[in-house]
């Protein structure tokens, strides 16, 4: 039986964040202990560089402390909000790298497969992910792999085009069609 730290401490990320918004440092530390490993995993996956991943994680939590009150439950669960924020910042960081440096990401993307199920996963997140995976399976294989590589490897259109050795316009078109198909499948 594996449990997340949040479960062990009996406080949900939602409860903790609402206390963080009131300036409660203990809640902030508990939230950090409960979520940092997962968010660090996201930083590492996108950036493939520990020092940069650490800096981005620190940025994320600094922002969480200062802007906790801006969280809106309509944006989804706290865990998913934290994950999205983390990934966005990691990709921002990736985009500040010189173009050549991101070539490493091309190779990294090659080894990107669907990660195994995280033991810490909540049942709800897992059913949502099954739905997303099912919709992705309905895509044409090329569109599917482009979207997955873009998501997990943080690749741009240009990088994707280089990687699959296809014209930029075609890659854009495949990804866009894939996104539209995905949207239609997720929200019939």
């Amino acid at each position: 039986m594996s449990k997340t730290s949040a479960e062990q401490s009996g406080e949900s990320p939602e409860a903790l964040l609402s206390q963080v918004a009131l300036g409660n440092r203990a809640a902030f530390e508990a939230l950090y202990r409960a979520t940092a490993d997962r968010l660090f995993g996201i930083c590492l996956r996108v950036l493939r560089d520990r020092a940069e991943a650490e800096e981005v994680l620190q940025e994320v939590f600094t922002a969480v402390w200062r802007k906790a009150a801006q969280y809106d439950p309509r944006q989804g669960s706290v865990m998913s909000w934290l994950g999205i924020t983390t990934r966005n910042r990691a990709i921002d960081r990736l985009r500040t790298r010189p173009a050549r440096a991101s070539l490493g990401a091309l190779e990294a993307a090659a080894e990107v497969a669907d990660a195994g199920t995280s033991p810490a996963e909540e049942a709800e997140a897992s059913s949502e992910r099954e739905r997303l995976s099912r919709c992705l399976e309905e895509l044409e294989p090329r569109r599917r792999s482009l979207i997955r590589d873009a998501f997990f490897g943080g690749l741009t259109y240009e990088e994707l085009a280089t990687r699959v050795q296809a014209p930029l316009g075609s890659v854009k078109s495949w990804v866009r069609r894939g996104l539209l198909q995905l949207r239609a499948c997720l929200e019939p």
Binding site: R25, I42, S80, N88, T156, V175, R176
Partner: protein, 253 residues
């Protein structure tokens, strides 16, 4: 289907046309835009609520994948670095407090039980009016340790009061979390006055609690008590306790 060279998007004209807003929102969320286009889309997100909502919807569609990313162990020094970044003093080491655990065992705490029970049996009282009392001359180093004991006399928390700074260092004796999801809330109860919340406390980490300036006088006043009750997580700090007392102790003077 062909991948002939220019025009590269020959097989599908949509590849070169500006995408509609929702597709652009999806591209921003997916992260495929290059640095320049990404910045432009992010600026638009900040200024255009409708577009921002579309980006948010795409982020939520893709978010379930994030749960599949394997966690990675964060190095311990990162927490300290984060505290420095936020301008916090790193938490003092706990051992000296732990060693005084035996010394300060339940005696003082038990003495306070009656006082607390009295207060918690009362209907919730409005918060005490702020008192303007501020210690005029900061005391030197004395930092008495108070044991907050459970009903059976076993220690639940150790509290080290720093009157000069107006803080209380709370060191929990690790215990299981409340099965109903309530969280421990710390109260200071000046003799003869209503409890006043000092916020939530951790059940497994030492941390410092800042006492509001108008409640600091109670830290040095004779007969003041620290108590911990189990409360709903939302709404902390509460105006008055509503849950059971799980630990308490008189501040040692």
């Amino acid at each position: 289907m062909s991948a002939r060279m220019p025009p590269p998007d020959e097989e599908d004209s949509r590849g070169s046309e500006p995408p509609d807003d929702d597709v652009l929102a999806g591209e921003l969320a997916l992260g495929v835009l290059g640095a320049h286009a990404r910045r432009a889309a992010q600026m638009r997100r900040e200024q255009d609520p409708a577009f921002a909502a579309q980006v948010g919807a795409w982020e939520r569609r893709l978010a379930p994948w994030l749960a599949a990313v394997a966690p990675a162990r964060v190095p311990d020094y990162l927490w300290e670095r984060l505290c420095r970044e936020l301008g916090w003093r790193p938490a003092p080491a706990a051992p000296s407090l732990w060693s005084s655990l035996v010394l300060w065992r339940s005696a003082a705490a038990l003495a306070a039980v009656a006082a607390i029970a009295l207060w918690l049996a009362r209907p919730p009282a409005p918060p005490a009016p702020p008192t303007a009392a501020v210690p005029s001359a900061p005391e030197p180093a004395a930092k008495p340790v108070t044991t907050l004991a459970h009903g059976d006399g076993t220690p639940g928390w150790l509290a080290s009061v720093d009157r000069t700074r107006g803080t209380v260092l709370m060191v929990p004796v690790p215990a299981p979390a409340d099965s109903r999801g309530r969280v421990p809330e710390l109260w200071i109860i000046p003799a003869g006055q209503a409890p006043r919340s000092l916020g939530a406390v951790s059940i497994n980490k030492a941390h410092t609690v800042e006492v509001p300036p108008d409640a600091r006088a109670a830290l040095a006043a004779p007969g003041s008590v620290l108590a911990i009750t189990l409360e709903p997580a939302s709404g902390i700090p509460h105006a008055a306790p509503s849950g059971p007392v799980i630990a308490k102790g008189a501040i040692t003077t």
